[in-house]
């Protein structure tokens, strides 16, 4: 069934939060709120890890476009069907391939969006990465598989190239899933998961990895990942005969459309308090920004996908784009920190691979 969109992107609505400078002002207590929370940078200084340095680039994460068939209420990318202009072209993808081939420490290519499969070069790019013998992750929103007949064979394509699939399914509840992602998303997601299972994804010994992402559907932090995984496995098997490998519990960071929700619902300050109360210094050493480089659709480099969405480019000005990529400089860079980083250090920590401690 067709998904009923929750709304339009911040950009299409000309919402002031589509301005990243404004978002940073809110986070730093200069706009929309009178509260100023302790500086994240000071917290990192207090444990002797400032400036935070990379441990070496292992994961090359590309956000190949903001175009998506969904307009989720919490999307940190501000993606949606109306974001048709920001999609990576073939020239930039070729430049990325040159980097991936030239840097042996990069073992994983992590492709995200938007719905990355909507980029016309997606399949070609996946094939080229696999020829380089790199692990490829597709961050798939699931519903794209059933959104249009031209995407119906995605499970076969992904299986054929042994792509690891990481898919969002916030809850095993139609009400809770659709309230975050749009009416009809839950049913389409279940259909897509069954199609992925049919070609072997999530099944023992198939070698085809299907991981799910759970994130809270409101102003609270995720519970323990192991227990959530057990519950998701039990319920998905019982209700829909669906199997998967691992569940990643990911904290919502207070940026973009989730920040809009927090401000509009009056939950911003209490959410920041929750993140601060749950601050866990032992997570800092394992933050994903230490082993990842994030690339935007137009080729700029960032410490992570969240910094990308706040337009906080890497600190190395002479190596801040795929056209001037210098692994030695990047491995020595100072990672850019700001108040949203509290989202990755709360509780057991949070990354694109779920808990980190």
């Amino acid at each position: 069934m067709a998904i009923k969109q929750i709304g339009k992107s911040l950009k299409a609505r000309e919402n002031q939060l589509s301005n990243t400078f404004y978002q940073l002002q809110v986070l730093n207590g200069k706009e929309a709120t009178e509260s100023k929370f302790p500086s994240f940078t000071e917290k990192v200084k207090a444990i002797g890890l400032f400036p935070l340095k990379p441990s070496g680039i292992e994961i090359f994460q590309l956000n190949i476009g903001k175009l998506c068939n969904q307009t989720c209420a919490h999307c940190h990318v501000d993606a949606g069907p109306d974001r048709k202009e920001e999609n990576m072209g073939k020239k930039e993808l070729e430049q990325c391939l040159e980097i991936i081939a030239a840097v042996p420490s990069i073992h994983t290519v992590d492709i995200t969006g938007g719905a990355p499969e909507m980029n016309p070069h997606f399949r070609w790019f996946v094939q080229e990465c696999r020829k380089l013998n790199k692990k490829v992750i597709d961050r798939c929103n699931l519903t794209i598989i059933v959104a249009n007949p031209k995407f119906n064979d995605l499970p076969q394509f992904l299986a054929e190239h042994k792509v690891e699939v990481v898919s969002s399914l916030p809850a095993i509840s139609k009400l809770r899933t659709d309230s975050q992602r749009g009416d009809g998303v839950f049913e389409d997601s279940i259909k897509a998961l069954q199609m992925l299972n049919e070609v072997g994804y999530g099944k023992d010994d198939s070698g085809l990895i299907l991981n799910l992402v759970h994130n809270p559907q409101g102003a609270y932090l995720p519970g323990g990942q192991a227990e959530l995984e057990a519950e998701f496995k039990r319920q998905l098997k019982r209700k829909f005969n669906i199997v998967f490998n691992n569940l990643f519990a990911i904290t919502n960071l207070p940026i973009s459309r989730f920040l809009e929700y927090l401000l509009a619902s009056g939950n911003y300050e209490s959410y920041m308090e929750k993140l601060l109360e749950a601050y866990n210094p032992s997570t800092v050493k394992s933050l994903m920004c230490r082993n990842t480089i994030s690339v935007s659709w137009d080729g700029y480099l960032y410490d992570c996908d969240f910094n990308q969405m706040l337009d906080l480019k890497v600190a190395t000005k002479s190596s801040n784009h795929i056209s001037n990529f210098d692994i030695e400089q990047l491995n020595k860079r100072d990672i850019i920190l700001n108040q949203h980083c509290y989202g990755c250090t709360a509780g057991a920590g949070s990354s694109c691979g779920g808990e980190i401690s």
Partner: protein, 113 residues
Amino acid sequence: MSNSTNYFNPEDLKKFGNITAFQEAMGKKFFDWYGEVFKEGALTAREKSLIALAVAHTVQCPYCIDAYSTDCLAKGADEEQMMEAVHVAAAIKGGATLVYGVQMMNHVKDQSM
């Protein structure tokens, strides 16, 4: 001195830990025990949170209802499960009232021809 004119202030929940200020040893023991109770054991942490939510309704503790509504969601429970837990609590409360009906009936029989 507290300026509050309300008996229930959601902000007070954040100060729960302060009860140790007046009796440290007992407070500390309580919180240690409380933490142990809610760890995963024979029951999962999610099941314990749903039980806590149900009990919160029977003892009509607004602090506990706020806290365990959030905790249930965080642990992956959904609205249907949470409302079923509240119905379990309500059924026991209703049943506990109604079962006294037997006592009432016994007394009526004793007092009647």
